[in-house]
C-alpha cells in the first residue's frame, strides 16, 4: 500500500489513524487507515485481501505520495526485505522498526524522523561548516535553503541571503508551518459561466488586501452617531452656499470629523514601518473611491486644517478625476488614514480592511432613520449613522480606538465644531 495521490497539488499526506492493526486480516476495499490531505480527510481502502503484515508509517506521520505505508501479504507471501527498493531508502521512517522490539523500533523511528520541512531530505545535505554554525546561531532550518555551491552545497552567501530576507522568510516559514491554504479551485466550466481574468489593478488590490488581512491584527469598534443636527446644518449651509456653487456631502463632514479627532489620537495617524511606528502629525486623509476596475484612495493633504468647503471641493475634484483615471501617483499615495463610505449604497453597517501601512480605517454607513428616545424617554425618530473603526492592534489598543470613535461621534453630533 502506498500513499495515494489524491489531487494534483498533493505532495504528501498525513496518516491520521490506523483503522486496522498489524497482523489483521483485511478484505480488498476495506478501510485500513485515515489519511488527511490539504483538502480532505478520507479513508484509505485496502487494495488487496490478505494479512496486514507490516505498518510502515506511524499515526500522525506525514508520508510523501508514493511512499509505502503498509504491506498486505497474500497467502504464503513474505514481507519484503527492508531498505530494498530505492523508494524505501529515501524514507527515513522506514529505517527503524524491522522486527525486534516494537518499542525500540518506534523510538528509532521518532528519532530518525527529520524536522518538518517542505523539502524532503534524509537529514544529510551539503553545507559548509560556517553555514552550519550560522544556522545553529540563528535557528535556521538548512533544509529550506537552496545551496549554490558545488553539488548544491549550502555556502555562506546562501545563508546570508536567507538571513537578509529574514522577516519575509520567517513569515513564509510560519505560513508553511500553519495549515496551507487550499489552492484556488478549478473553474467548473459549465454552460452559462464565463472566465474573466482579474485586471492588474484587481490583482494588486487583492494581494494588498490579502496581505493586510493576513499580517495586520485587525480589531473593530463600531459607534452609532445621531446625525440629525448634522443633516440639518448641512441643509442650511448648502442652501446659503448654493450661489457659490458649494454643495457639502455628508461624507465631507465625516472626513472633517475623522481628521479633527486624529489630532487628539495621533497613534491612529501612524504607519507601520520596518524600522518602527511612524507617527504623523499632519493628517493626510485618504478617501476610498470605487472605480469600475477596482478601488483607489486619493489623498486630501492636511485635512484637519482645511475647512469643510475646501475638503468638499478637493474631494469632488479628486473623486471625479479618479473615475476618469486622471490622478497622478502622488495624489493617491502617502495617505496616513483612510475613510471608506458606503452610505450612498444604503449599507447599514460594514467594516473595512486596513490599507497598509496605515494604522486604521473608518467605514461609514448610511444614515438610517429609526426610533430612539429623547431625554424624557419619548420615542422619537433619530437619524442614525454607524461608523466602524478597523485598527491595527500592533499600533493601537482597543481603548484608544474606542476613545477615538467617541470623539468622532462627539464631533458629528455637535457639527458646529466642524465649522469653526
Amino acid at each position: 500500500m502506498i500513499m495515494p495521490k489524491m489531487g494534483d497539488a498533493m505532495e504528501e499526506g498525513t496518516l491520521l489513524r490506523w483503522l486496522k492493526s498489524q497482523g489483521d486480516e483485511v478484505e480488498a476495499g476495506e478501510p485500513i487507515a485515515e489519511i488527511e490531505t490539504d483538502k480532505v480527510t478520507m479513508e484509505l481502502e485496502a487494495e488487496d485481501s490478505g494479512t496486514l503484515a507490516e505498518l510502515y508509517a506511524e499515526e500522525g506521520q506525514d508520508v510523501p505520495v508514493g511512499e509505502a505505508i503498509a504491506f498486505i501479504a497474500g497467502e504464503g507471501e513474505e514481507v519484503p526485505e527492508r531498505g530494498g527498493g530505492e523508494e524505501r531508502e529515501e524514507t527515513p521512517a522506514e529505517e527503524g522498526g524491522s522486527g525486534g522490539d516494537p518499542e525500540a523500533a518506534t523510538a528509532t523511528r521518532e528519532e530518525e524522523r527529520p524536522a518538518p520541512s517542505t523539502q524532503r531530505t534524509d537529514g544529510h545535505f551539503r553545507a559548509s561548516p560556517i553555514v552550519r554554525r550560522l544556522a545553529r546561531e540563528n535557528n535556521l532550518d538548512l533544509s529550506k535553503i537552496k545551496g549554490t555551491g558545488p553539488q548544491g552545497r549550502i555556502v555562506e552567501r546562501d545563508v546570508r541571503a536567507a538571513l537578509e530576507r529574514g522577516g519575509a522568510e520567517a513569515a513564509e516559514e510560519r505560513e508553511e508551518a500553519a495549515p496551507r491554504p487550499a489552492p484556488a479551485p478549478e473553474p467548473a466550466g459549465e454552460p452559462g459561466t464565463e472566465l474573466v481574468q482579474p485586471s492588474r489593478m484587481q490583482k494588486i488590490i487583492g494581494e494588498r488586501m490579502q496581505q493586510a488581512k493576513r499580517e495586520i491584527p485587525h480589531f473593530y469598534a463600531t459607534i452609532e452617531a445621531d446625525v440629525g443636527e448634522l443633516a440639518q446644518l448641512r441643509r442650511d449651509l448648502n442652501e446659503r452656499l448654493a450661489d457659490e456653487g458649494i454643495k457639502l456631502s455628508v461624507n465631507d463632514f465625516v472626513m472633517k470629523a475623522c481628521a479633527l479627532a486624529l489630532r487628539k489620537f495621533p497613534m491612529l495617524n501612524a504607519l507601520w514601518t520596518g524600522d518602527g511606528i511612524e507617527v504623523h502629525e499632519r493628517v493626510d486623509l485618504a478617501m476610498a473611491v470605487a472605480l469600475e476596475s477596482g478601488l483607489i484612495t486619493p489623498v486630501i493633504r492636511d485635512a484637519a486644517n482645511k475647512t469643510l468647503s475646501a475638503i468638499s471641493a478637493e474631494a469632488k475634484d479628486l473623486a471625479s478625476r479618479a473615475r476618469d483615471g486622471k490622478l497622478r501617483p502622488e495624489e493617491y499615495q502617502g495617505g496616513t488614514f483612510t475613510v471608506s463610505n458606503m452610505g450612498m449604497f444604503g449599507v447599514e453597517s460594514f467594516s473595512a480592511i486596513i490599507n497598509p501601512p496605515q494604522a486604521a480605517i473608518v467605514a461609514v454607513s448610511s444614515i438610517v432613520r429609526r426610533p430612539g428616545f429623547d431625554e424624557e424617554g419619548n420615542v422619537v425618530p433619530v437619524d442614525s449613522m454607524k461608523l466602524t473603526l478597523s485598527a491595527d492592534h500592533r499600533i493601537v489598543n482597543g481603548a484608544e480606538g474606542a476613545q477615538y470613535m467617541a470623539e468622532v461621534r462627539r464631533l458629528l453630533e455637535n457639527p458646529m465644531l466642524l465649522v469653526v
Binding site: P129, I130, V131, R132, R133, T148, G149, P150, V155, E156
Partner: protein, 330 residues
C-alpha cells in the same frame, strides 16, 4: 628611519650588527671569507673581522657544522652558511642528532646558540641538486627553529633574533630574492619569531605563504582584485617553527576561505600543516575546503620553462582562490 636595501645587504647588516655587539658571534662556511661568499652575503666581512671571526672552511659540511655545534655548546655564537640548503643533507646528522637535541639531552644545561643559514628553494635555474626547499624537513624536528623571511626588513630583523637565540635556528633565505630591495629599519629592528606578518589586508579569502611565495600571493591578490573584485588577505608566515597559528585562525575567521601556498612538494608539507590547523581551530568558520598550491612532485628541472612550470604560479594561486570562493569549478 628606514633605508632601501637589498635582501643580501640586509642580512649582512644584521651579522655586522651582532658581530660588533658581541665578540662571540663568528661566521663559518665555504668561500665566505676571502671570496665574500658564493652569494656575496659576507662580502667584505673577512677584511673587517679577520680570519678568526670569518672562517673559510673546507668542503666538509658534516665536519664544520659539527665544529660549530661544539663551539656553540662552549659559548660561541656561530653563524654557519650552507652554500645551498641541499648541501645541509651532508650535515643533517650534526643538525638533527646534536644541534636539535643537546639542550634536551643536558636537561637545559647546555645551549646550542647556532644559526645555520643559506639560500632555500629555487627559481634561479640551479637544477635539482641545488634547488631544494627544506622547511618541512627541518620543521619536523623538535629543538630546531625554522624561519623564512621574505622582505629585506624581516631578513635583517629575523637574523638579529636568530643570532641572539639560544637554540639552533634554521635560517632559510629566499635565495631567488637576494637582489630584491625594500625598506630596512636602521639599528636594532629585531623581529620576534612566531609572529606572522599580514602582508596585505583583505576580507574575502586568506592566502597563506612564506618565503618568495608571499610575493607571488601579493601579485595574485592584485589580479584577483582587478579581475574579480576579490579582496584577498595575504599572510606571510615568516616563522614556521614556532608557528603563528593565531594569525591564520583569526584571518580565516574573517574570510572563511583559505589557500595555503608553498614552493615545495605537496606531500607532508607546510601547506598541509596550515590546512590541518585551520580545520582544527577554525572549522566552524570555513565556507570552503582549504586549497593547497604546491610545487610539482618532481626534482626541480634545469630548463627555465620547465622550472617555471614546476613551481606555483600567480595564476595557480588566483585560481585556487577562485575555487575557494566558489567562483570557478575545479
Amino acid at each position: 628611519m628606514a633605508e632601501t636595501k637589498t635582501y643580501r645587504e640586509a642580512l649582512r647588516e644584521a651579522m655586522v650588527h651582532e658581530m660588533d655587539r658581541d665578540e662571540s658571534v663568528i661566521l663559518m662556511g665555504e668561500d665566505i671569507g676571502v671570496y665574500g661568499g658564493t652569494h656575496l652575503i659576507t662580502d667584505g666581512l673577512y677584511d673587517k673581522y679577520g680570519p678568526r671571526r670569518v672562517i673559510d672552511t673546507p668542503i666538509s659540511e658534516n665536519g664544520f657544522t659539527g665544529a660549530a655545534v661544539g663551539m656553540a655548546m662552549m659559548g660561541m655564537r656561530p653563524v654557519v652558511e650552507m652554500m645551498t640548503w641541499n648541501f645541509s643533507f651532508l650535515a643533517a646528522d650534526q643538525i638533527i642528532q646534536n644541534a636539535a637535541k643537546v639542550r634536551y639531552f643536558s636537561g637545559g644545561q647546555v645551549k646550542v646558540p647556532l644559526v645555520i643559514r643559506g639560500p632555500n628553494g629555487g627559481g634561479v635555474q640551479l637544477s635539482a641538486q641545488h634547488t631544494h626547499s627544506l622547511e618541512s624537513f627541518y620543521g619536523h624536528f623538535p629543538g630546531l627553529k625554522v624561519v623564512a623571511p621574505v622582505t629585506p626588513n624581516d631578513a635583517k630583523g629575523m637574523m638579529l633574533t636568530a643570532i641572539r637565540d639560544d637554540n639552533c635556528v634554521i635560517f632559510l633565505e629566499a635565495g631567488a630574492l637576494y637582489g630584491t630591495k625594500g625598506e630596512v629599519e636602521e639599528g636594532d629592528n629585531a623581529v620576534p619569531f612566531g609572529k606572522a606578518r599580514i602582508a596585505r589586508e583583505g576580507s574575502d579569502v586568506t592566502l597563506i605563504a612564506y618565503g618568495r611565495q608571499v610575493n607571488l600571493c601579493l601579485r595574485a591578490a592584485e589580479t584577483l582584485e582587478e579581475e574579480d573584485g576579490v579582496d584577498a588577505e595575504v599572510i606571510d608566515l615568516r616563522s614556521l617553527r614556532p608557528f603563528d597559528e593565531d594569525a591564520i585562525v583569526e584571518s580565516v575567521k574573517k574570510t572563511h576561505r583559505a589557500v595555503a601556498v608553498e614552493e615545495q612538494w605537496r606531500w607532508f608539507g607546510v601547506a598541509s600543516e596550515v590546512a590541518a590547523i585551520i580545520q582544527e581551530k577554525a572549522f566552524d568558520y570555513l565556507d570552503a575546503p582549504v586549497e593547497r598550491v604546491s610545487g610539482a612532485e618532481t626534482p626541480a628541472p634545469y630548463a627555465r620553462n620547465l622550472e617555471l612550470l614546476a613551481f606555483p604560479s600567480e595564476k595557480e594561486v588566483a585560481n585556487a582562490a577562485r575555487w575557494a570562493l566558489y567562483m570557478e569549478e575545479k
